[in-house]
Symmetry: C2
Subunit: 466 residues, 2 copies
């Protein structure tokens, strides 16, 4: 299929005009009930017409229900299938008859549970249809831009993230949902979330192809356990990473966890070393864990493209400067050697007790004014690519003025080819201050190791990969 | 000096009956003003008499001041010195005349700024006195048990941690203060915090010797940049780690950061590889960053001694089970092979759709009741040493009942030789639930990598070191 056509068709997953929910239920605690309720709740935002399909009831949650997809007169763009596994293949046949563009099979009970008979029937039905299918054994999608949500989230137990530019593809539904929830109180948001499960039709390669062209997505993050067609995936990933970063967390990297991936999403996880090196060659950034996945995605989400690996540290805590330096060296970045002019100006303008080094340690009693003097010079320094500003609020010289200083510098930096990251460790007061910076789109981290890991992947991607 | 005598004398730092503040000030934003104010604020808790020494004023913050230590009639147990560096050595001479047991020199401006003349004068004075001295260039101490606080914290910008059993020794004052603040909203608390700066008298070895015998300290955590006497330190550390764990974060591990350590605390950081291997031999746990330092300390603070490296995972998210398995294998732990009886009971009692494996994946719709069945069997399993319970609240089967289940299991586990850790990732609702578990002294982590790193160091310490 032509990629333009593919993208047009895939769009029906995210912006359908009509959605049929096969297996919609009035019981709000059931999967069919939760999904249907979620769709109704955000109706004014995604503006899709929602049609329940239920062969036993005339109305579902107050809405007229149909016995079968075939009874619906209107055109349907997306079918969400929640019926038991044994009925799924016949529903897919109905999708083909109704010429439905896209379908999400939430139902589980195929190869991942060892039911190879149902697996074969499903694959046969998929073979014969032009409907594009996500799943089975998946949670479907969440579109940050119109709040369309086919997952079973939305209860008081979980929240959904803001609209943003990070796409998240997850082979595991539960893991995906949990990450959506944990992103809910972050300032960086989600463009599209896709849980694709067993991938009997649409797979990880189709999804990165789609997201590569998606204008709302700036960063692609993924949780994978296995890859259906390695060659195809790597070829496409290599093309995609020339456009935008892919950050991957791979589960099932040890012998011991591979058995579990088979019963989880029915995939075979391959040899880890081979994987890692192939992924690297394709320009994919590999996260070691969920924490890293988010932290690396954050810098790409907020900061604009910037080449170069020279880092300048400004700090009011000597120990933090030292720990940050260690991280810089261990993460293949470099400490900036200031331009001659920068050195002269810093020496002229900063108090004598401050040594003009990198890290630039403004000492424990540093004031917002001293930070400003330092930053004004560093943003003019030709050799600096990335500025790490460490602000420890527990020290006596610092006060709220530093927030305005940093916001002012951020505005100036937007016009330069530099990147600024703020690191600040602390409890309630610090968190309040950090929120103010994040609201102004300043990229912040709690600990030096988080900031430098992210900065390192950021610098390597724009300097070496893209 | 005999160790018993040393400990008795060191106690005067933490439980002095009389404190003289040399350089106390009425200006509350100054260092001398903040420290004096902090001491007065917690007076009803630490019950020390506070005497201001100031050669210009008759009263400081409403309290009668003396011109010099020598003018005070009473016995003084702790002197806190905040005067400019050039006056410090003469104050130390006065401490000797007054037979003051302990002194903290907050003042900076010695070898760390290259002032070798003042450095020599200070060392000469230290040589001639029996007063035990902490610093110079340090922030002093915080005693979690009586709230005695000689640092310049206590403003709205920072908070102090709860009373607890983690001791924290920091060569860097600012870093120490920041960590104190960031511990403030954790359930695990601090026994004693000690910022010891340039260590001209009391050094890291004296401090671990002291904390080894301190009954209120269960875990010793440290941030070091350099070590004064490597042989002595390692010998003492080796003795200490037979009693309680030492977790160390070392700053200045790269060539690039070593220059900074010299101007920061005046220490020379040695060769990193040699360090690491010597530390390992002494049984010291090495944290890679501040995050890890806390996360490892947490499990030791909460959990009782337990040998064995077999881990059982119970989860309602397959992907989380897989990621946790990868971490277990990569961190030198093992997946438990269940005892035969456990397998039979689990199979008999759990629904058929749940495969009896490790990870024990209770599947996305797992209920608190299913968790209880599984946990009741696992706590009887002879082969299991550590139980990782993953609870994802974004999934539909889970509800608040799981909290009661986990609290009940925790009570039972107290009587076994097993350790239970809960892992739960999510936003506001999850954080609320986790707080309820932490209040019942259940050890929790947000991500699998954090939990397994901590569990691994815990298991290795009790199985191989102690």
């Amino acid at each position: 299929m032509l990629i333009v056509t593919m993208i047009k068709e895939m769009n029906h997953f995210f912006e359908p005009k009509t959605i049929a929910v096969v297996g919609a239920s009035s019981k709000k605690t059931s999967v069919g009930g939760t999904i249907f309720e979620n769709l109704l709740k955000q109706k004014n935002k995604h503006r899709a017409k929602i049609i329940p399909i239920n062969n036993k009831r005339k109305k579902i949650q107050g809405i007229k229900a149909y016995k079968s997809l075939l009874d619906v007169k209107e055109k349907i763009e997306l079918a969400i299938i929640i019926v038991p596994a044994k009925y799924v293949s016949s529903i897919i046949e109905e999708c083909e008859i109704k010429k439905i563009k896209t379908a999400i099979i939430i139902s589980a009970g195929f190869k991942e549970t060892g039911n190879l008979e149902l697996e074969k029937k499903l694959n046969d039905a998929i073979q014969k249809t032009e409907t594009k299918i996500l799943g089975p054994n998946c949670f479907g999608i969440y579109n940050g831009h119109n709040q369309l949500n086919t997952t079973f989230s939305g209860k008081e137990q979980m929240e959904l993230p803001k609209n943003g530019n990070i796409a998240f593809i997850s082979q595991s539904g539960a893991l995906g949902l949990t990450i959506l929830d944990s992103l809910a109180n972050k300032t960086t948001g989600i463009s599209k979330f896709i849980s694709y499960g067993n991938a009997n039709d649409i797979d990880e390669t189709d999804l990165i192809q789609y997201l590569q062209k998606d204008k709302k997505t700036k960063v692609i993050t993924m949780y994978l356990e296995g890859i259906k067609d390695g060659q195809k995936f790597l070829k496409n990933a290599k093309e995609t990473t020339k456009q935008k970063p892919i950050i991957l967390l791979k589960g099932g990297t040890t012998k011991e966890s591979k058995q579990a991936t088979t019963s989880h999403t029915g995939t075979l996880a391959g040899n880890q070393k081979v994987y890692e090196s192939a992924m690297k060659q394709a320009g994919i950034i590999q996260a070691k864990n969920l924490e890293e996945l988010y932290q690396i995605a954050k810098i790409f989400s907020i900061e604009k493209e910037n080449k170069g690996k020279n880092v300048t540290i400004i700090t009011n805590g000597g120990g933090f400067g030292i720990l940050t330096t260690d991280e810089i060296i261990n993460n293949e970045l470099k400490l900036t050697n200031y331009n001659k002019k920068t050195k002269i100006e810093l020496r002229k303008k900063l108090p004598k007790k401050i040594a003009i080094n990198n890290p630039l340690d403004l000492i424990g009693d540093a004031t917002p004014e001293e930070y400003e003097i330092a930053l004004e010079e560093i943003i003019k320094d030709k050799n600096t690519n990335i500025i790490i500003v460490i602000v420890l609020f527990s020290l006596p010289g610092i006060n709220k003025k530093i927030i305005q200083t940093l916001i002012k510098i951020k505005q100036k930096i937007e016009k330069t080819n530099k990147t600024m990251i703020v690191v600040s460790t602390g409890s309630n007061y610090t968190k309040k201050m950090i929120t103010q910076l994040e609201e102004k789109n300043i990229c912040t981290y709690e600990y030096p190791n988080q900031a430098i890991k992210a900065a390192s992947e950021f610098a390597k991607y724009y300097t070496d990969t893209k």
